[in-house]
Subunit: 327 residues, 2 copies
Amino acid sequence: MATIQEVAKRAGVSVATVSRVINKRSKVSMKARIRVEQAIKELNYEPSVLGRNLRNSESRLLLVLLPSISNPFYSEIINGIEDTAIGQGYNILLCETDSNPEREAIYFNMMRNRLADGIILMDPTVNQENLHELASKYPVVQCSEFDEDGNISYVTINNQLAAYQAVKHLIKLGKQKIALINSDEKFLYARERRSGYEKALKEFAIPIEEKWIYNTDNLSFESGQQAMRFLLNQEDRPAAVFAVSDLFAIGALKEINSNGLRVPDDIAVIGFDKISFSNMTYPTLTTVAQPMYRMGCISANMIINKIKGEEVDSLILDHELIIREST
Amino acid sequence: MATIQEVAKRAGVSVATVSRVINKRSKVSMKARIRVEQAIKELNYEPSVLGRNLRNSESRLLLVLLPSISNPFYSEIINGIEDTAIGQGYNILLCETDSNPEREAIYFNMMRNRLADGIILMDPTVNQENLHELASKYPVVQCSEFDEDGNISYVTINNQLAAYQAVKHLIKLGKQKIALINSDEKFLYARERRSGYEKALKEFAIPIEEKWIYNTDNLSFESGQQAMRFLLNQEDRPAAVFAVSDLFAIGALKEINSNGLRVPDDIAVIGFDKISFSNMTYPTLTTVAQPMYRMGCISANMIINKIKGEEVDSLILDHELIIREST
DNA sequence: TTGAAAGCGCTAACAT
DNA sequence: ATGTTAGCGCTTTCAA
């Protein structure tokens, strides 16, 4: 890779002039500009991000930290982030943390090293202290998950309300025995959705049965399947299931089908997220739609504004209950 | 973030000594070492990747370029890459190219800028000239897709053989009218799988019908659904479908079900990849399993060896036909 | 064993 | 309008 010196030499100017041509900030004579551009082309020169950063602390790179890329929920958000960020001249680096604090720490350090200009964080299992220390010095926004009592900007939905509405929908269908397949409650959304579930039951004076609440340790179909197997093994089995992720709901659907039961008559199922696969199942899945793409766009805008030094406000977006065949 | 100077000052030594402590390469007196380590702890110091790279050209970062993270096929590979790379002290940055040459170019430049030590490339739609120029100077390996007449190391499977076996399986089941739902044939795997499909038909003297071959422009359930809709609209409709991706097969399954036809009796369906979804469908999907996790591990090892300056050989892994309910 | 200093590629302040 | 140069944080050679 050619350096700025080589370009300067070839163009017969100083490195400063080359830098000026590249960065367009100050005036350069037409003649010099043309010669520099010519030299850049001939040498196939690209400015070094390293050198520039070291000097400027600007990389035009955004880090997106997510627990796992296999959850389609994140893919949609990322589409939004990328479309928005690229439109504004930023590039995206995806960092899978696997909810592992050590890996998180590595990516946080990339930020401290000014290898990126900002971080969009979608992983909740972060070390809080570490996060706040980072957020106090560098641009950070949270997407979907957030810190309740911190002051880091975020974009999310009203998880409690969404869950409440979902469960109410099941109750209105005449279901009373409603199970909950929940994630690990280290996730804020899991705690909120559980609270919405309980709120709806309470409102209709339905007792909350611990035996119908299952917490998985893993976001996958298999966990949903396993949860459903557990629920079906109860002597008093539920008549409906609210799963906090479409992945769980799809696994549950599968397990119900394999046991010769019918959805929704024997057991109604409702999921969360409206991932594209939720429309491919048999039967199709009732689910709570989150505006994932929009969440992505908004979080990208938020972080870019933050990088520019602006104040940004947190945002709670609307969700929507999508009623399909499974209820 | 503290710098090496501050640490040196606090420890009462020179920056060189601090560097020596950090990098462990040369001898430092016990006394100095302890004082430096103390200062590092007190200042919460982390070496700057930027400064180090600029000097050393080593980042311990790997770039993984993939067309889209929404295809679960890639998620599995990435798991393998990450587990292996992290085990060897490398970190992973995921770069979604969207098959866009401009975005590809940006990530290639990060490599040229020595922001990463190597690239694992899973996107085929790369500008060939650009790729070879890059690969001639920096460590690059290809995973799944590769360049037939280049000399870039790769790991892949025998796509032609796998497709041939899949189609033969359908023929053995008594199916003669076999449709193909294929990707855009800019992908090498798409060309190879088509060739395997044709080879099987020829072997059994079954004519190849263009009307039963559908190329999608997009890897999604919806494309598979659309393809199937097209095939079902033929007056002479196929009795079996070979889809080159489970995503297509799942979309096709959905479309067949919605039309009141039965799988596999009316139409048998076979997919490709054995993504985890493929076991959740109704009926479950027969598919060709690729050792995705292993492909990931191997490509990570290949790139790391390449970075170390070793010669690495390309590898073709085994696949396996997984027969389930859809055939 | 240690320190001083050069230099990696770049930008911006300053000088011309 | 252009050039000279210091310095961003680090490693490594050379000298002591």
